[in-house]
Subunit: 230 residues, 4 copies
DNA sequence: TATGAATGAGCATTCATTCAT
DNA sequence: TATGAATGAATGCTCATTCAT
């Protein structure tokens, strides 16, 4: 029956919306308090749902967190891929990648920070491995693999741009993975400044600095690096 | 009375020792569990003191943490200064600084991570009511300011080496603060990889990569960078 | 130092008292609400301690329950043994055993009921076996064995009296274990009447009925049972 | 309109069926988990109905439980009456009653246990507000009274057999109610063993033991009991 | 001084029940 | 009628901190 279908559809639609809403509430709370200090109560309050309702949408606090991260990762990944596929010269793409990443970090601010940092708690939440915590009967399923995939996609997006540049002679020849690692480190390092740092650059400034610096470091010798002229 | 003084002195000595001992215990625990997941009970157990006793030496969990960090920072700062004052050529010093920092990060591993990251919890810990308290060996001054100082010292140590290099012509001329910032970012970024990262380099490898890369990026044009040859 | 010792002793004394007090509070609550419906909060309230304090004395709700039961069992066992060792004729001892058991059941009323009944929950609490519940990481230690011992002691106390009677010719010869089982069943059955039963006999009446009935059933044929005389 | 009636009838029929189905699902779940540990969700899942639907058929979890028990009791009662009305000698009937009861207990295992035992929870369930509700096939009368009736019927079935035996001289003369009470106790006691008991007899063995023992205890003196012969 | 004991506030999670469609 | 969604009230358990000795 069409009517039935429509109703169901609408219901599903609404659930999806609620889910999104809960996630965005959760993101706010996690961003503000970190993982361990964010209580499900807080999230529920922010989402204006009852705590019990959250548990209809997610099986645990950890799952909420996982979902928040995944959502955000995938968004970033989409951006990355979009840039990578553009029809522009490599250096411009590189610049865009840098700018995009820094903007993304800025947008997700403390949130990315949590992810990078509250190690044991997050690992536990993500079900990755165990270290010195108990974790008795948890299904070691699905999710971690998904994560690994996204991360890998990130890296390969980066690497492929760098490789492209090396092939076209814009970048000097070096292990592209190593180069990718260095670029990644620069990006991370630019954003995560510890909380006492007082110098602050805008995203634009940072992009310029980082890009210029990275270019000088990787520029092919033919294009004036290690200037063995005449 | 001299006898009285001696007794007092001995008592103070013992307190200072206990304090140190507690801090080293706390460092272990914080390193293993992160800030929020480390319980005062754990620390007390590790230090083989009663929980209540810890509260005689420190006013709160946050303060213990703060102290642990300060201790560690100062140690690092000493190392930095030592290197900076050595009588060697700038490039060697640079390399040493890089190596030292990466080693330090590695040694303090997750611990530095926490400090850099578990924002809300840590900030809360640091902004804690800091007034007078019984500890004789610690100046009753507000700690956060001290932190800022240490950080600043770090930066200026770095900057001064870079400046030295620029002046001696080893490095290309640029804003030394900017250069310091970039070096800092590289160092941070090299160490704090997300937890899904699979590539791992040893400290030696990292030092080489980082140093070489940084050099290529900053080398003075005369010394072959931006090869504007005759 | 004597002073130290005394202080310690007093402290231990007080802890033991508190423990007892908590247990008696717990017994009340368990008796009123059964195991699953008794909340640790209830017990804490009854004991006029904070919930957290209960957790200083016992590791879990289950452990509290276990302790309550053990305490009570051991008390009963002491009574049993006392009777068994009396220097009286077997029939009188039997009567006393019956009376004692019924009184004990009455005193521990609903409490024994819980123990006998709220199977899965209690089993879980006692750590016995698992049936269809999860129970992830629990140390399957100590306690169950202790229980088994007490139960066994009960049974052997009964059996030994019956055997004694058979040997002295007061009871007819039969498998003493079987006889013990039947007596046990009668005792249990007399007490656990379901909650709709309206007829109620006093302990004295019950003792008389049960004893007389059991005697008639077990009396040795020589002493007029199966009186095929002539 | 006849058509209307038919429709209504069919609807009622279907509701009655659903009701039965839900009850049998509930019985399974209660048997497995006990009363308090059985969740309405579990029952709904087992019955393949939505939780809300259950609440259209029953006003509460307690009412479901009540109904399950009633259903089961009435079934047992039918069995009892059937045996009682058979045209066989009293001793054979007695044996059958015993066997039937033990089998029934076994079949309803933990379920009967719950009913007999999980006091507070069950009592609460039974004293529940019982007023009018939509179920057409159940008399709107207070259920507890009904319970009492069923129990009474049980007892009178037993008593009447015993009385019959006394009159025919197979059993010794005694208060038939008392005798019934004792038999009941034996039956209950035989089935509801504490959970630590290790000896287990089959239904057949139990029947033999119990019957033989009960007979020896109640047999009329003429038929060799209390054999004070000439 | 050192500590064992005590606790208030909190936390993740569950569940019987209601409600809107 | 049937149901998916929503929730208030609990529940077992933990932990930073205080207090009495």
């Amino acid at each position: 029956m069409a009517r039935r279908d429509l109703r169901k559809e609408r219901a599903q639609q609404r659930m999806a919306e609620n889910r999104k809403f809960i996630l965005s509430a959760a993101e706010k709370v996690f961003a503000k308090n970190g993982y361990s200090h964010a209580s499900v109560d807080d999230i529920a309050r922010e989402a204006q749902f009852s705590k019990a309702t959250l548990y209809r949408y997610f099986r645990s606090k950890g799952e909420i967190f996982t979902a928040v991260i995944m959502e955000s990762f995938q968004e970033a990944l989409r951006g990355f891929t979009r840039i990578q596929q553009k029809d522009r010269d490599t250096e411009a793409k590189l610049r865009e990648i840098i700018h995009y990443t820094l903007s993304y970090y800025k947008k997700k601010e403390s949130f990315a920070r949590i992810f990078l940092m509250e190690r044991s708690a997050v690992k536990k939440a993500l079900n990755l491995d165990i270290e010195e915590h108990m974790m008795p009967t948890i299904d070691k399923q699905a999710i971690p693999e998904e994560f690994r995939q996204v991360i890998t996609s990130f890296q390969s997006a980066l690497t492929s741009i760098l490789q492209e540049g090396m092939e076209s002679g814009v970048f000097r020849r070096m292990d592209p993975q190593e180069a990718g690692y260095i670029l990644g480190a620069l990006l991370r390092g630019f954003h995560f400044r510890g909380f006492v740092q007082e110098i602050t650059y805008t995203v634009e400034e940072s992009t310029d600095m980082l890009h210029s610096f990275f270019m000088h470091g990787i520029q092919a010798s033919g294009r004036s690096h290690e200037g063995e002229c005449a």
